[in-house]
């Protein structure tokens, strides 16, 4: 084997150990929306890796044709959308076995490779490797999964209970919400930063000016449109667009209720250590603007920015969520009732 072939073998080994196996393990039980979405996301990472030559297509196909991922895909269709094309990457064969959808797993053709400079492809592979490492560290994690399930895929009542820690018997703890939140923020910040680095390097090497390159905030509409890498000049931009399309699904930021939850949660953390000095207030505003940008970059509809005042009020705590929860719980104690289907096994009995 030559050194390039050795590299793709090593890359695949790492991908399986650090990402595929842990992600598939977490789908056992089938009760986590995020675990199922992450399992399908793994196939999209594989697809992108094949496209840019980080993985060898022949080696990866037999390893990823997993029935467990097909099951995840089926559960996602029930939870998310029956005709979500993102899920078409794995399909049932004639005998019901899992097969990867061939049309997704394409390599850059000869024409594209001829026009894409070697340094660009190397840049894409390096960036891709960084993204895999970040995904392994921050997203393939029990705390992150519990947090993303809670904030993105639960009802309003269930989210409030999980976030405020008012009942035992939930699948996780408030501490896990905090740790998972930190992981996801870290992931967003680092993916954004890695994307900016890739863009800047492209500009510098192309003889351009870094100030002329900007992050692409084009809205990731559903169904997700994947780039087709037709233009070598935009291969890096297409790659970054592809990355956003891959990762955004599990965050569910197209749901405006989820956006609200992020601002409330961020605000609760900030306000828990309120100092109220000018420096602190400046920092608080910077954090608000940063989280707004991150939410947009990872899938929120840009139109949400038009409600800045509303989200600012949520963030600084003008609407006191804790009081709201306590008022609702006070009424619930007067008239206890079972909430069908909202909590695993129903509310704990009192």
């Amino acid at each position: 084997m030559n050194s390039m072939e050795n590299s793709t073998v090593d890359n695949l080994k790492f991908f399986i150990e650090a990402i595929v196996n842990p992600a598939v393990d977490k789908t056992i039980g089938g009760d986590s929306a995020v675990a199922d979405l992450t399992a399908v996301e793994v196939l999209h990472w594989a697809r992108l890796g094949v496209r840019i030559g980080y993985f060898n297509k022949k080696s990866i196909e037999p390893i990823l044709s997993l029935n467990s991922i097909l099951q995840s895909s089926r559960r996602c269709r029930k939870r998310v959308s029956a005709d979500e094309p993102w899920l078409d990457i794995i399909l049932p064969g004639q005998r019901g076995q899992a097969i990867l959808n061939e049309k997704w797993f394409t390599v850059l053709d000869a024409r594209q490779q001829e026009f894409i400079k070697p340094w660009k492809l190397e840049l894409l592979q390096r960036t891709f490797q960084t993204l895999l490492l970040l995904t392994s560290e921050n997203i393939i994690d029990d705390n992150s999964r519990y947090f993303l399930d809670s904030i993105g895929w639960t009802s309003k009542t269930e989210w409030e209970v999980r976030f405020s820690g008012t009942f035992r018997g939930m699948q996780g703890s408030v501490q896990q919400i905090g740790c998972g939140f930190a992981n996801v923020l870290d992931y967003w910040e680092e993916v954004r930063s890695a994307s900016i680095s890739a863009g800047y390097e492209t500009e510098i090497r192309s003889g351009g000016n870094v100030t002329s390159w900007n992050l692409d905030f084009e809205h990731i509409k559903g169904p997700i449109n994947f780039p087709n890498y037709q233009s070598p000049a935009f291969v890096v931009t297409d790659f970054l667009k592809d990355v956003r399309a891959i990762v955004s699904r599990q965050f569910n930021l197209m749901d405006p209720n989820v956006i609200e939850r992020y601002f409330v949660l961020a605000g609760q953390f900030i306000n828990s250590q309120k100092e109220d000095t000018p420096e602190w207030r400046d920092a608080r505003l910077r954090i608000f603007e940063d989280i707004t940008e991150l939410l947009e970059y990872f899938g929120a509809d840009p139109l949400f920015r038009m409600q800045r005042a509303h989200f600012w009020n949520l963030f600084i705590g003008s609407i006191d969520l804790v009081d709201l929860i306590n008022t609702k719980l006070g009424k619930a104690r007067e008239e206890p009732k079972e909430l069908p289907g909202e909590f695993p096994g129903g509310l704990p009995k009192r």
């Binding site: 790492f14 392994s136 905090g178 900030i270 828990s272």
Partner: protein
């Protein structure tokens, strides 16, 4: 095209991994240890590529394997973390994590940020104490001068004590938890800090017994055995650091990186190569 470094998962040590050089004549292992609330890739990812990109300027990177240690910085006591880290270092140096050994390292560089630097220094002191105790036990009747010579020989032959410490903004003199503004450079740093246990935060306070005993022990050891490389270092601080106390142990000169805060001091870039230069033997 050839990939310059391929990732290798290191089993048994959480999310730790290696980026092994594809170059010839690899003779150094660089182990990176993140800090409080940090993670291996988030803290050190800029080293992944820039080390190789600037290998013409900083030639040692081509012959260095990089290892990124992952540990629980928010909930596990420092002394326990130092023990666990010691196992990792041993595994790296002797290549126990691989099925087939293929390297023979000559040099070990331990690069730590913030709490990571404290863990590195604790490992060094533990190693020193352990070797000293074993030598004393093995020579129960030796006179003081002969015992000191025996101890010095034992220390000189230990690969961990012979390592080069490269510490970015070490938390060895304490962390400023009285104000949280310094953590607000990013929301992830802030949330990590708030969700940490009070036990770990207490261990990193300026008047903490954990830090005090580490300082006293290291200074005494260095006073007795000044030739042991890892008992002395010159840490690098950002002059805008609001998180840790910018100070070190007796006699250790501080190095400054202008314009850097606690988090940017360990991040190289095209316009900020100081961290790349700093991590070398």
């Amino acid at each position: 095209m050839t990939q310059k470094r391929t990732p290798q998962f290191i089993p048994g040590f959480g999310k730790s991994y290696a980026l092994l050089s594809q170059g010839h004549g690899v003779n150094a292992a660089v182990i990176f240890v993140h800090g409080f609330g940090g993670k291996p890739t988030s803290t050190w990812r800029d080293f992944h590529n820039l080390g190789d990109e600037y290998s013409a300027e900083y030639t040692w990177w081509v012959t260095s394997d990089m290892f990124f240690y992952s540990y629980d910085s928010l909930h596990t006591p420092i002394r326990r973390n130092a023990e666990l880290f010691g196992s990792f270092v041993d595994s790296v140096w002797h290549e126990k994590w691989r099925e087939h050994s293929s390297r023979k390292y000559r040099d070990l560089i331990l690069a730590g940020h913030s709490e990571g630097a404290v863990i590195i220094r604790r490992l060094i002191l533990d190693r020193y104490d352990d070797l000293k105790a074993k030598t004393q036990t093995a020579n129960p009747t030796a006179e003081a001068a002969a015992l000191k010579t025996a101890v010095a020989e034992a220390l000189a032959s230990d690969f961990v004590l012979a390592s080069y410490l490269r510490l970015f903004a070490p938390a060895c003199r304490g962390t400023n938890f009285s104000s949280w503004v310094g953590f607000l450079t990013s929301l992830s740093h802030f949330v990590s800090a708030v969700t940490s246990t009070s036990r770990v935060r207490n261990e990193l306070l300026p008047d903490s017994p954990v830090l005090a005993s580490l300082k006293t022990g290291t200074e005494k050891a260095h006073a007795k055995f000044g030739d042991v490389r890892s008992l002395y270092t010159q840490p690098l601080f950002g002059d805008r650091d609001q998180i840790v106390i910018s100070d070190s142990y007796d006699g250790e000169r501080l190095l400054w990186d202008e314009g850097c805060d606690h988090f940017s001091v360990c991040k190289p870039s095209y316009s900020h190569k100081r961290p790349l230069e700093f991590v070398c033997k």
